[in-house]
């Protein structure tokens, strides 16, 4: 998502990394049926960065002198836009029965709206609320009987209100429990890192918190492998994204915080060529993250559906079996290169992406 404010390179770089990870993972999974080792980092990064971006976007709006109520309305409109886009995406890119599978776009829409409430909280309250959500999520999964909604690794709810709502809360692909923790913590870290002049102290705080989360994740994993009996039942999941285990959430969140706090130290700054190139690339991808998200799905999924249709097969006939892993990787790389060229062309010629549509519609 575009922050719309003065840009921080580390956010652009991190989001670009998330895009690269997402494209490679999806191409490899959906074309070759292979799960790369770096799977499971893209979505947490996107969710985390959406919180930080929200802070930057809001600050920029305030600096422009926009009234608070206007900003709140724009926030809600943006959230609804993403939610609606998420539903449309589920229908058109996947299948109509997938409308309420609570994919990442729908989640981000709800999360963006929730930030309008969360931003009013003092940071300790926000941290506490995140902790409560984090701790409640395995309990809620236990109550809801999470595995009952999942068939062969896919979320498969009945199209009834209780299942739909439960999917949004606990059992979907990106349920609010515990995914909402990412944007909230992202917002907290963003307002700490980018809201004060005293950056070094904030970066230290982010690093320490990130390290603590990583240690928690490591400890959970260690205990889960060695002495699972020591852990409560809900905390015994290993490193899994579906369901998002405690170790996974703590680990991915901690890593995101660490990287965000640490990146400014290693990124080239100044006006030399490497720095300028990096800025240009990161900014181009980062500005059009939403467009890329939609586009890469269309580009690699629709040919599968169409080819299967033409061959008279089930639509999902070639899904996960369309190519070899190297070919999928190569295609992902080609897609990224081509999309970079396309995005540069769009930027140069003032062509609009889906982000611009969102801004036009919502701001």
């Amino acid at each position: 998502m575009n922050s719309g404010s003065s840009r921080y390179l580390e956010i652009d770089v991190l989001r670009t990394l998330a895009i690269f990870s997402m494209v490679f993972v999806h191409f490899c999974e959906n074309l070759a049926g292979v799960t790369p080792p770096f799977t499971g980092f893209g979505a947490p990064l996107f969710a985390f960065l959406s919180g930080a971006s929200y802070h930057l976007w809001r600050s920029a709006q305030e600096r422009r002198g926009r009234a608070e109520s206007e900003i709140a309305k724009a926030t809600i409109r943006r959230g609804l836009f993403l939610l609606g886009l998420g539903f449309a995406f589920n229908i058109f890119v996947w299948l109509p029965e997938d409308t309420f599978n609570w994919d990442v776009l729908s989640f981000l829409g709800v999360a963006w709206m929730s930030l309008e409430l969360v931003r009013r909280w003092p940071l300790p309250v926000l941290a506490f609320a995140a902790l409560v959500i984090y701790a409640l999520s395995p309990v809620a999964r236990g109550i809801a009987d999470y595995p009952a909604y999942w068939t062969a690794g896919y979320f498969d709810p009945d199209l009834c209100l209780s299942d739909v709502l439960l999917g949004a809360l606990v059992t979907g692909y990106f349920p609010l429990l515990p995914w909402i923790v990412y944007p909230w913590v992202g917002y907290a870290i963003g307002s700490t890192l980018f809201g004060t002049a005293e950056r070094a102290g904030s970066a230290r705080l982010a690093q320490r918190s990130g390290t603590a989360l990583v240690v928690v994740a490591g400890t959970l994993l260690f205990l889960q492998q060695r002495w699972p009996a020591l852990l409560p039942r809900g905390a015994r999941d290993a490193w899994t994204m579906f369901p998002p285990s405690l170790a996974y959430v703590a680990g991915s969140l901690g890593l995101a915080m660490l990287v965000l706090a640490w990146l400014p130290r290693v990124l080239p700054n100044g006006d030399h060529r490497t720095a300028r190139t990096l800025q240009l690339v990161a900014r181009t991808f980062s500005r059009h993250a939403l467009t890329l998200y939609l586009l890469h799905h269309v580009v690699h999924l629709w040919p599968l559906w169409i080819a299967a249709g033409l061959d008279g097969e089930e639509p999902t006939a070639y899904w996960r079996a369309a190519s070899s892993t190297p070919a999928a990787g190569l295609l992902a790389a080609c897609f990224l290169i081509a999309s970079y060229a396309g995005l540069r062309w769009m930027d140069r010629h003032g062509r609009r992406g889906i982000e611009d549509l969102m801004r036009w519609l919502c701001d």
């Binding site: 003092p122 300790p124 409560v132 309990v139 109550i143 299942d163 439960l166 809360l169 307002s191 005293e198």
Partner: protein, 287 residues
């Protein structure tokens, strides 16, 4: 001994530093500020042939004492004019747009004054009294200028913080330490100024002495009362702004503790409600 070739024999140069050192290097000439125990100390100097001030470290004022006989007024005038021109030239060497040297003419003394340099022309027997008065006046004027500069330096920060005087916010909280430091700074400046004020606004002495006349003229030329008044106003405003901001901070911090507790309770209740909802929904699903 004269460093300047065109000064009459017997002229002296004293480099003076205002210091609070316990054991200063050099003779103590005058206690200039009892509160901070600052004293005017004569620093060792190298012979020099120009008026350029600030050559030595720790030198705040250069005092040139030039003896006059009081016999030939015309010669005195010519000397004063030559020195004035020299001081102006030295000032131009030192900075781009120097203030012109101030010339104070008293019945039996002349004083030339440009930043950092004070030249006294008087009969030798008047030197002691004049020197004390000149050092004291120079200290007061220098101190006032230092406060003015400090106040001006604080101004942009204050303007940036002006909104905090109205209300505080979550985002402003991390700046509390910064504001605390600023509060101390402004308070310290006010204290300095209030110590200085009685000396800057000293009533005219009657019957006057040469030293009192010199001090009065220097204070008058330096426009001390007006500057003091302006400084007071500025510091008052700065103090008020910082004080208000600190008040807002305290209010906000107090309210925030209460709010946080309320929010914690709400979050816990919300957590419980979510679990109930999940349980309810799961129950419907199962049914």
């Amino acid at each position: 001994m004269s460093d300047l070739p065109n000064l009459p024999a017997g002229s002296e140069r004293v480099a003076i530093g205002f210091t609070a050192e316990e054991a200063p290097s050099g003779a103590v000439l005058l206690l200039v500020d009892a509160a901070t125990k600052r004293r005017a100390v004569a620093r060792a100097t190298e012979p020099r042939e120009s008026f350029t001030p600030g050559a030595g470290a720790g030198v705040d004022l250069e005092l040139w004492l030039v003896p006059t006989s009081g016999e030939s007024r015309e010669e005195e005038e010519l000397l004063v004019e030559a020195l004035r021109a020299e001081l102006a030239a030295a000032g131009e060497r030192d900075r781009a747009a120097p203030p012109p040297p101030v010339v104070v003419a008293l019945q039996s003394a002349y004083v030339l004054w440009s930043p950092g340099v004070l030249v006294l022309l008087s009969p030798r027997e008047r030197w002691l009294a004049l020197r004390r008065a000149a050092i004291d006046a120079a200290f007061v004027i220098g101190e006032l200028r230092a406060i003015e500069e400090a106040v001006e330096a604080t101004w942009p920060e204050l303007e940036a913080d002006a909104s905090l005087a109205f209300e505080s916010s979550e985002r402003a909280l991390p700046r509390r330490d910064e504001l605390r430091a600023r509060f101390s700074r402004v308070l310290a400046l006010r204290m300095r100024l209030s110590r200085l004020a009685p000396r800057a606004l000293l009533p005219h002495v009657h019957p006057p002495t040469l030293a009192s006349q010199l001090a009065e003229r220097l204070r008058e030329r330096a426009r001390l009362p007006e500057r003091l008044e302006h400084l007071r106003e500025k510091l008052e405003l700065q103090f008020q702004a910082v004080e208000l901001a600190s008040q807002r901070f305290s209010d906000y911090a107090l309210a925030r503790t209460g709010h946080s507790l309320e929010w914690v309770i709400i979050v816990l209740l919300a957590g419980q409600t979510i679990l109930l909802l999940v349980e309810l929904l799961a129950g419907y699903g199962a049914a």
